[in-house]
Amino acid sequence: MLEKSTELHDKFWEIFSQQDRNKIDEFKLYMDKFAINFNLYKDGNFIEQSLPFDVIPRIISKKEFTKIEKGLQQRVQALNLFLEDLYTDAKIVKEGIVPQEFVEQASGYLKEFVGFSPSKKIRAHINGIDLVKDSADDEWVILEDNLRVPSGSSYPLSIRDTYRKIYPDFFEHMKIDPIKNYPSIIANAMDYVNTGGLNVVLTPGRYNSAYYEHSYLAEKSGALLVRPHELTVVDKKVYFKNYNGKLIRVGSVYRRLDDEFMDPKFFNPESLIGVPGIVESYLAGNVALLNAIGNGVADDKGIYYFVPKMIKYYLGEEPILKNAPTYLPYFKKDMEYIFNNMEKLVIKDVAEAGGYGVLFGHEMSAIQMEDLKTIVKANPRRFIAQELIEFYDEKCYLNKDLQDRKADFRAYVVVAEDVKVWNCGLTRYALEEGNYLVNSSQGGGFKDTWVMEL
């Protein structure tokens, strides 16, 4: 189902009807020429491929975006307070708002970091929050928080430049918010927590799926792009190894590695990547890591259930943006509800990501449901269930034809002195009609997102 058309949409279609559609092919040529890739490993082979792009943008009015912005600022502020509290006083647990056992069983919770407070007490600096617009009540709903290493911002940034060149009419005749400021927002977040030294973007390397993004953000934010072994730790301080062997102090690391690969001395001694000793330096307050280690507990799919409670607890406010109705089989009452209504629910494995481990009740046979119930009973903390949100489709121009596809929206929220929501984001659409999975790793494509007014 499509969202009701507004004057903004009408204006877009009016201009679109006057454009040469043959020029749409130029987007793909541009992405290929500049190797704007999302890399994959398939059957053991490294495949470089561009992310599918659709020319029809998602249009969000300024008024509507302002509400999203306020809701996201509120949510990310609460999530930061939660993380800081959880790893220091843990009042929210002591007061029974979030069950202790539930926290301790979260795979992203790292008890070794209890008692440590990072630079400026910020833990979730650069965040990607996934939302959809519910067709039932026209409201935006939060589906997922990504507080570790969310990716994707470089794709709309890159494509916007091309869009302006290929189809300038839209930008001449519509008031579309410019978006070039995102790298400077990132740079500001790094500067704000910097403990003295260079800003670096830490990439696993050229064969990572998002290497293009790491390289792009480093270049545009003025940070150095480094691989783990190009950093070294001496006397609990992190240094960058210059080409001539000189060591230069590093004060802020925008890391694009997961926690478990950050430091073989601290996490997995078998790991071939990571910066040995960086965790010790971090714990000594000698370097800032964006995002903090241990954030996985807050974007755990099970902890998601408690975010509205966190907002009330820490901020004393009602959540501006709602969660999808969620049930935790961990609670007996919820488990009963899930088992009695499985056919209309979406069941998610909290340990999975990227669209994996998502089961739709309406697609399951009776036997599959019974099997799943057995698995859920054995390990209720591992699953959550959600009401299926019938979120809006977006119009897509695919195979020279307008088609409807489910689409979500990843908003980027960056925390420094204040909480900034980038006035763009990554709109992802599903590969096939009716499919609810929009993830890039599931073959989904992306669109530009225009925050605009008439």
Partner: protein, 225 residues
């Protein structure tokens, strides 16, 4: 002013300079030999590839182009450009975006010609030379970052020195000496706080290979991080 660069990126910039120069030189030599193979000297291609230590076989001028550009040997242009593309991807954040795009396009041009079994004629070389010209134009803009440019530049001129020493040492003596001076100058600017680097000079009795070894050894001393 750009001050910091990782050893890995510096190495990739250096090799990008070398591979692009190698492509330029090889295509130029192929063009010259192609013209001769048509109706002047059927063995011009064989003689050229002898200098690359490659035994090239072909039946006519078109076949010479095909074997020279895509044949199974070290001087295969597609292989050289595959390496250049890889270098460019690793150091793309320090490249002008137009230059980067043209490098990807240059590789894609050869790859699609190879994969689609397209006819290989002089147009391919013309298009490639035009793209290389655009890459070098983009690199020469004044707003470039001095440090990364130095590594790219030194790679380019080391390759030129290598080529002139191997192919035209006697007639290009003056040019070779001026390239050595430029290499010395860049090396000194990149290592000014370090021990003095040896000058590249041909000492009596030394072979071409000795000279090339001393050239490469000097460059190896620059990137130590």
């Amino acid at each position: 002013m750009e001050k910091y660069i990782t050893g890995n990126v510096a190495t990739n910039l250096y090799w990008l300079g070398r591979y692009l120069e190698r492509t330029t030189i090889t295509l130029r030599e192929i063009s010259t030999a192609y013209d001769k193979v048509i109706d002047i000297d059927k063995d011009a291609g064989v003689k050229l590839y002898d200098k690359f230590d490659v035994k090239l076989k072909y039946v006519n001028a078109y076949d010479f182009l095909k074997e020279a550009i895509f044949g199974e040997h070290n001087a295969n242009i597609l292989n050289i450009l595959t390496n250049a593309r890889e270098n460019a991807i690793i150091c793309r954040h320090l490249l002008d975006s137009e230059a980067f795009g043209e490098i990807i396009a240059l590789h894609a041009l050869f790859l699609s010609t190879y994969n689609n079994h397209l006819e290989i004629d002089y147009n391919l070389i013309d298009q490639a030379q035009s793209l290389i010209g655009e890459i070098l134009n983009a690199r020469s803009r004044r707003d470039h970052k001095a440090l990364s440019d130095s590594f790219f530049r030194i790679g380019k001129i080391v390759e030129e020195a290598d080529y002139r020493i191997r192919f035209h040492e006697e007639e290009d003596q003056e040019i070779i000496q001026s390239i050595f001076k430029e290499i010395d100058s860049i090396c000194e600017s990149l290592t000014k706080d370090h021990e003095e680097l040896p000058k590249i000079r041909r000492v009596g009795g030394a072979t071409k290979d000795d000279l090339l070894t001393s050239l490469n050894a000097k460059v190896d001393k620059i990137i130590t991080g």
